[in-house]
Symmetry: C2
Subunit: 131 residues, 2 copies
Amino acid sequence: MPKTLTNKDHQFRSECSISRTLELVGDKWTLLIVRDLMWHGKHTYRELHDSVKKVPTNILSDRLRRLQSWGLVEREPYQERPVRYAYRLTEAGRALEPVLVQVMQWGHQFLGGGLNQPECAMNSRLEGASS
Amino acid sequence: MPKTLTNKDHQFRSECSISRTLELVGDKWTLLIVRDLMWHGKHTYRELHDSVKKVPTNILSDRLRRLQSWGLVEREPYQERPVRYAYRLTEAGRALEPVLVQVMQWGHQFLGGGLNQPECAMNSRLEGASS
DNA sequence: GCTAGTCACTTGCAATTTGCAAGTTATATG
DNA sequence: CATATAACTTGCAAATTGCAAGTGACTAGC
């Protein structure tokens, strides 16, 4: 059982789990970054910048920093000169998968969004999951 | 199969279902309002304002208006002088329930948020759903 | 050594959003 | 008429978003 994620700079405004989660991921970009780390095999800043369409560079770097400070993402250097990092999801980050699946399914059903667009190439995983 | 929700004032930035959904609900208050419409039996502006802790009045009215314009919420007058409305979720709004459940479970497991706080009084529903 | 390029950001700034506190409107009540 | 209630709107400061340009640390080629 992982310990509770904390961030000493953050005071939750509520005890409610939904409210707390939204304080971390309740914006328009964070879950898309998690999506591409989880489902698209993107790990470097550049890969993420290319795959999360239109994400501004200051937003991407800010969100990666926040995800890291919350313990949803960790990074390790994959080269030294200059040092560059590959990002990956922690257990807590990976545990967001059911959230992503439900959000995607709702968006597909009600907003006509893709299930098998290159950005959301999940068909085989979904089919596997449901069978 | 409900038709695709649309909002003529809105241009989605992506085909991706997750991205599209986040354009509607990717903020800190919208899902909390949906929560209280769905799970707490709150219907009027006042009830929602009292139960969604600390929600500013301009935010609450703005979000209700947006939810309505997207077709997730509808309202009907429950009195005439002055006219006042009760809000309720549409089918599309109710279909956000699995999203809320997953968000809440993640927040409970990783952020120590409640599952049976008064704001999130869902134990019996969850148990029913899982049995 | 210089130039050009790449990658990973930071910076400056305008636009937008958030949120606080006060105010307004349409009613009812005494 | 004064007071109260409910449902907002408004003004404004602070924060965030996002665009475009710039910076730093490297490599490659000449």
